[in-house]
Symmetry: C2
Subunit: 123 residues, 2 copies
DNA sequence: ATAGTATATGTAAAATAACGCATATATACA
DNA sequence: TGTATATATGCGTTATTTTACATATACTAT
């Protein structure tokens, strides 16, 4: 029960919901700098919020050189699956901008991999 | 998006999750005093948390004399429906005690209606 | 080792939220 | 009108969360 409350708490901030939407829609691993540019938020904030999502088991990470790639957690608990469906059913508005920026950013990948840091806000 | 974040925030406190579980499992309107006794929490806390759930549209209320009856919101938006399913899939632990107390409490109804106030903690 | 890049985190300040108590509101009934 | 009951709320205190800045860590390449 407390675990569940913490999962909902993790989804109770817009920036974290935007991160989840991004990962759900992108359907692929994203590195931190790509998420930073897609959301147009500071690096340290994105990093912190990613950590919160990770702590409740919603996302997982993997290192690839200096880059760290985040993706939806593969723990396919029934609850998590329902939750993803719920998030998918959120009516769109602002996060569309995120996807536009993400797509632009993903074009900068070389051979499918991120090769540059974030361009936007400092941190 | 912000609306959704607020809905998740409403579900990020254990007491509010317990209220939601109670209403989902009971499958009927419950008056505030019945919820107070089922959760064994103070009247003012239950009242406050019910108001938070109501403000985000998860529950709705209806007056019946001095009693106010709460139920799941009938707004059957797809998102809300998914959310209910998600909450239903939460593994049980503590809220089972809530249901035991609720059932005991519901037996005190007369002709299917609550006729007494709460017995438990003050407020 | 050194420099450069990507990501994470300690800390303090600001903003939010929860709790307890007392009290207010609304209704019922005499 | 006055009392009793059910529910809601204003306010102060405490606890939690978010943010911003600076800096630390981890890795790569020279």
């Amino acid at each position: 029960m407390e675990v569940t409350a913490n999962i909902f708490k993790a989804l109770s901030e817009i920036i974290r919901l935007r991160i989840m939407r991004l990962l759900i829609k992108a359907k692929k691993e994203l590195c931190v700098c790509e998420i930073v540019d897609a959301l147009d938020e500071t690096q340290y904030n994105v990093s912190r919020h990613l950590n919160i999502l990770k702590n409740v088991g919603l996302v997982s990470d993997r290192r690839a050189g200096t880059w760290i790639l985040y993706s939806l957690s593969s723990k396919n608990v029934r609850f998590n699956q329902k939750l993803i469906e719920t998030i998918e059913s959120i009516p769109s508005d602002k996060e569309d901008d995120d996807m536009v920026r993400l797509r632009k950013r993903l074009k900068m990948r070389v051979k499918g991999r991120c090769v540059i840091g974030y361009k936007g806000k400092g941190g």
